[in-house]
């Protein structure tokens, strides 16, 4: 099932940092935030002026009350809009990743649940079948014997219905769940790898920026004392390096944004598919319950008829015909004739 979100698509593929120099185009997400791109030299803490962003775990976040950002999918709450921030060491991706893993765990639990459910039915069916083969009541004759037999036939049919129920639970619920679970795993691992790589790159670029700033600060102090040409030349070179670093960092951050969008899109789609699949399997299970119920109800109807047919007069006639010893009654004996 494809998701029906309306959010803006991320940048086209090929934005790998390995081939990245200075970006020529911004990702669509950033185009809308162009206003926020006025230049600042220092981090918030180093300037008395009000900062427009704050850096958390190497990511440069827009701040509350800063430049306005519209939701990417305002029609409905979507992963794409609500998991951007890091909270402590925990990223938004961690949260939706955990949800995905939890979903996988529940599918596994569902497999176990229905495996156990099928086992209960299987045992019940076995016990009923065993009882249906018992010799109880076989001394009976006629309609009573027929009623006894119908009762055992009902047990046998009930047993078959529950045994079939058990097999169908295994076939149509438990086993397909395994395949479904496996099918989502590859996607999750792909996103985990991409996001981890993006975050590491951002963190090392963030560290490189800090180091470059320290060098620049050192140079500014020196140049303040010396005012020599060499330091001016160095300033220009450091400025060029910083510009390159800035572009690389921002491109890496945009790639991370793209990766997050892709992960949100896939994980949300997976969760929707999982929900639909579980609903579907639950309904299939209910159908199987109803089917088993109908079969046993039918068997019961047959047995009811046979029990209703019990006829004591017919059975007595049957017994008399089969076992009667004779109708001639005794007569008085005459020993001496008068």
């Amino acid at each position: 099932m494809a998701s029906k979100t309306s959010w803006t698509l991320p940048s086209p593929p090929g934005n790998s940092l390995d081939t990245l120099s200075v970006p020529t185009e911004k990702s669509p997400l950033h185009v809308s935030n162009g206003v926020a791109m006025r230049r600042k030299t220092m981090k918030e803490a180093e300037k008395p002026k009000k900062a427009k962003y704050r850096i958390v775990n190497g990511i440069t976040f827009c701040i509350e009350g800063g430049e306005p950002q519209e939701l990417m999918n305002p029609q409905a709450p979507s992963y794409i809009d609500y998991f951007w921030s890091d909270k402590g060491d925990r990223s938004g991706f961690d949260v939706i990743r955990e949800k995905h893993v939890q979903g996988k765990d529940v599918i596994k639990e569902m497999m176990d649940f229905f495996k156990e459910r099928a086992a209960i039915e299987e045992q019940y069916a076995r016990n009923l079948n065993k009882l249906s083969k018992s010799t109880h009541g076989e001394q009976e004759e006629g309609t009573l014997l027929a009623a006894w037999k119908s009762l055992k036939a009902e047990l046998r049919q009930r047993s078959e219905a529950h045994s079939k129920f058990a097999s169908k639970i295994t076939e149509t619920i438990e086993k397909p769940l395994f395949e479904f679970k496996e099918s989502q795993k590859t996607d999750r691992k792909h996103h985990e790898q991409l996001l981890e790589k993006s975050r590491k790159q951002l963190q090392s670029l963030d560290a490189a920026i800090d180091k470059a700033k320290q060098s620049l600060n050192g140079l500014v102090k020196t140049s303040g004392k010396m005012k020599r040409q060499s330091s001016i030349n160095g300033d220009v070179k450091i400025g060029d390096d910083m510009k390159k670093l800035e572009a690389t960092y921002n491109q890496a951050q945009r790639l991370w944004v793209d990766n997050m969008i892709a992960a949100c899109r896939d994980f949300e789609r997976h969760e929707e598919e999982r929900s639909a699949y579980l609903k579907d399997r639950f309904l299939a299970y209910i159908d199987l319950c109803v089917e088993a119920q109908e079969t046993t109800a039918q068997a019961l109807t047959y047995s009811t008829n046979m029990v209703d047919n019990i006829n004591k007069k017919a059975d007595r006639e049957f017994f008399i015909k089969k076992k009667g010893t004779g109708t001639l009654r005794p007569v008085d004996r005459v020993i001496l004739e008068t």
Copy 2:
């Protein structure tokens, strides 16, 4: 339930052989056969003339093609008409007695059958209840969690329905069967004792008749040789003793007939009651099956509704509201202002 046979009632009570001398009244059964009471001196084998009866195990039976005998209950085949003859060592009473014992055995089998049936339900209910308490799916949220809970609620209700079914089988079928079985036992033992006593008396009277006849034969030979007054006197005395013996035997045989009639009547009534009781218990069992079926069907309807209510959008909103980390997206970092 009283039997609705139309046969003639046996002689009034008090016909014990202990108080018996010569009968003054014949039992109603024998009144209708008065024609057959012409006097014969010897058994069939001892006379070339066509015999009107034959003796089997001490009982004097009317022979086929002898005096006509009407059925006592011509409206329907009844025990009262079809178990008079002995076949080898086996009497008609043995046959209906065996049927009675068989009936008792089947009631015992029925108790065992439903005891086992209840045990199967009890185990099934226990297993379902255990699974209904499992923690599967509890990581879910919102409508999916509600669906999971309804599935377990369905299991719990199913378990309760089957547990109740098991208790009711015990209460309304298994246990009452025991009381019913016991209630028929006393009557059977009573008839067994009476009939055994009757048969023993008849056999010893039959033996006494044989012995008296041998004495008479011996006397006839002697008197043929001697023609003396003493032998004539002896002949008269033996004749009187034989008459008394004849009367005692016939009275004992009539008592046996009465006992047979009473046994037939009670055993047939017992069998009819047993048949009706079994039918009744079978129907009660079927009602319990239907009741359990209806309860589980209701539980299933509730679960179906909750599964139908699974709403992936609502669940996503629930998750985002609870776990969302923030909507503010990253912005480009500006290291050097231009």
